[in-house]
Amino acid sequence: MVDRLFAGVLFLVALGYTYIAFTAIKAPFQYDPLGPESWPQLLGIVALLCSGYLFARPEVASFGLKLPTWGRLAILVVLLFGYAELFRPAGFIVATFAFCSLLSLMLGARILPALGFGAATGVVGFFLCTRVLELNLPAGVFAAYL
């Protein structure tokens, strides 16, 4: 069932991709016999055939996960999107502290070690990356002090 659902979604995406390839992609001057549209047309058709086949003959019935696992995975994805959202405005240290502390808490760490781990990863990670490795990371709220 999930296999069919996934193949169905991909079929729709492939349909959109192929439609654009046949209608929207046009070169004002064509230098080669294929042009920019033929390759996507070819790929679109193969993608439609593959996803159509998988829709008709799915093999995986379910993900086989229990409800609590789904809950954890949902929290993880929310945490990751939150981390991405906070990364630039709040800065690496704050965003990493929040992400690491919350995720390690969810995975079973006790509250104080989790907070310590989050703080250490944020601060040590920031200085290690920006000062030692000279990588570019956002300072965010600490921009005036760092």
Binding site: P33, P40, A47, S51, V60, K66, Y83, F87
Partner: protein, 508 residues
């Protein structure tokens, strides 16, 4: 022959430069650590560390030497979690669990670990020797390839991918097409026409390779780890004082040699890599041995075979990457993408135009193999201790590394959302038995495939017959057909043999 010796000499001069020597050792060490972690295999390890290596601002030959060190270090380290935890780091290490873990349970973990280190060393070194011997010749032959020959080569690459990787060939093919589709986004280099950019300026230059790799591998790995943690904790077996003996080595010498040869040649086939190599080597041992039924119960031959084969395959996979510009495995696809990030075009001309990269990499593999055995035999206890680091701290670090990696190189917050979304997509694909390696192979080969097809047709003025006009191309198409048809015929034969065996006439 002279050219090989000169080239190798130049390669050693590059690889033994203090910075590069340090990078080989650091790469091997970090790779072993990563490979030893449960669940993280070479492909994820290289994917997660790639942007960091890129961010160092190293010259291309040094960066690729570091990444290659991580690659075969991780291939080496995979055996530690396989043997002590019964958890393979990736598909290539699955066969190692079959006899490695039973040995550890019998109290022979030390013997298993030391034997597998030696088998890995022999397999890895054997592959580098063959790479040195045949690589340059293959490269100078490949220089004569025309665009239409390259098209045939791509067809062969995707054909061998579809028949050898994963359980469902359609899913494998679809994965490769998804990669090709992702690669078609951006401005078309030949005409300047925008394709699938939807007016978003961030993707005018195409979807960044790092974003795809980190998303599909790094983030999907993170989600998988959290999923496994919900299922329960893992307990590692302790290492004892036992060690491999000379009589053990004598007993498995032919096994190791056979498996190294099998591993190397399977590794060369585009897209297959360590998982197929170790499975075939294990199966061969089982057939060759008179007492094959003992394999799977903690037999040293069952441990030596996949270990020699998967390390030989890692070396073999470098052959098409260095000589043809076509990766032999998912991990070499990432290495190939890394070279492109450094504006180095991998392929046959690399041996003549960028010898410091091609030969430096080969020489570093000799050094890496020796370094790996030297650090692995005494330090195996240290690597094994990695298994006891609590997962609740290790898992968040993978997320942080992925974010640092993407942001420090691309500096675009949109990419952070993109890797997360790709991570979810990659995780779903994994759960539904899609293999992710074809996606990355398709992504890396996409523009090469399209460019060569268009170039070939430009030369012929649109006549498709040009694609089958040279002998190179014809041979490759025949090989492509054989790679697809032979496994189907073999499975039919097996099925009919089984059916005959079940029939009443033979039972009576």
């Amino acid at each position: 022959m002279d050219a090989i010796i000169t080239g190798l000499g130049q390669g050693f001069a590059t690889a033994l430069a203090p910075l590069n020597l340090f990078l080989v050792l650091a790469g091997c060490f970090c790779g072993t650590l990563i490979g030893a972690l449960p669940g993280i295999g070479p492909i994820n390890g290289v994917a997660i560390l790639l942007p960091i290596a890129y961010g160092f601002g190293l010259p291309p030959e040094s960066a690729i030497i570091l990444l290659a060190g991580i690659y075969y270090g991780a291939e080496y380290g995979g055996r530690i979690s396989s043997i002590l935890l019964n958890v393979p780091g990736d598909a290539g290490a699955v066969m190692t669990t079959l006899d490695g873990n039973p040995m550890a349970k019998k109290g022979e973990a030390g013997r298993a670990l030391s034997l597998s280190a030696i088998a890995s060393f022999v397999g890895g070194t054997f592959a580098v020797v063959l790479l040195t011997a045949f690589g340059p010749a293959l490269a100078s032959y490949a220089v004569t390839f025309s665009p239409s020959d390259y098209v045939a080569l791509m067809v062969f690459a995707f054909a061998s991918l579809a028949s050898l990787v994963g359980s469902n060939p359609v899913k494998t093919l679809f994965g490769a097409v998804i990669g090709l589709i992702l690669a078609s986004v951006g401005i078309d280099a030949n005409t300047g026409v925008e394709r699938y950019t939807f007016g978003v300026p961030d993707i005018l230059a195409g979807i960044d390779f790092l974003v795809v790799v980190i998303g599909l591998f790094g983030m999907a790995e993170l989600i998988t780890l959290v999923e496994h943690q919900a299922a329960g904790t893992l307990k590692a077996l302790k290492i004892d004082k036992s060690f491999v003996s000379m009589s053990d080595l004598m007993r498995v010498k032919w096994t190791i040699l056979r498996s190294a040869i099998i591993g190397f040649f399977i590794g060369i086939l585009p897209g297959t890599g360590a998982s197929v190599a170790s499975a075939v080597a294990y199966g061969t041992e089982k057939r060759v041995a008179k007492d094959g039924h003992l394999l799977g119960t903690g037999d040293i031959r069952g441990l030596a075979a996949p270990e020699a084969a998967n390390n030989a395959a890692a070396g073999g996979a470098m052959v098409p990457m260095l000589t043809l510009g076509i990766p032999g495995s998912g991990t070499t696809a990432i290495l190939l993408g890394a070279l492109l990030l450094f504006n180095v075009t991998p392929g046959p001309l690399m041996f003549t135009q960028r010898p410091e990269i091609a030969w430096g990499l080969i020489a570093s593999m000799y050094i890496g193999n020796i370094a790996l055995i030297i650090i692995n035999l005494p330090l195996v206890g240290l690597f094994a201790r990695m298994l006891t680091i609590p997962q609740q701290y290790l898992t968040p670090l993978i997320g942080v590394l992925a974010f640092i990696g993407v942001y420090s190189v691309v500096s675009n917050p949109h990419d952070l959302f993109m890797i997360t979304a790709l991570g979810v997509f990659g995780w779903i694909m994994r759960k539904l038995n899609y293999s992710l390696a074809p996606v990355i192979l398709g992504f890396v080969l996409g523009s090469l495939f399209e460019d060569n097809l268009r170039r070939a047709l430009s030369i012929s003025g649109g006549d498709w017959l040009i694609l089958v006009e040279s002998w190179n191309a014809v041979v490759l198409y025949v090989l492509a057909i054989l790679v697809v048809v032979l496994p189907i015929l073999a499975s039919r034969r097996r099925a009919s043999a089984l059916a005959e065996g079940d029939s009443p006439a033979t039972q009576a």
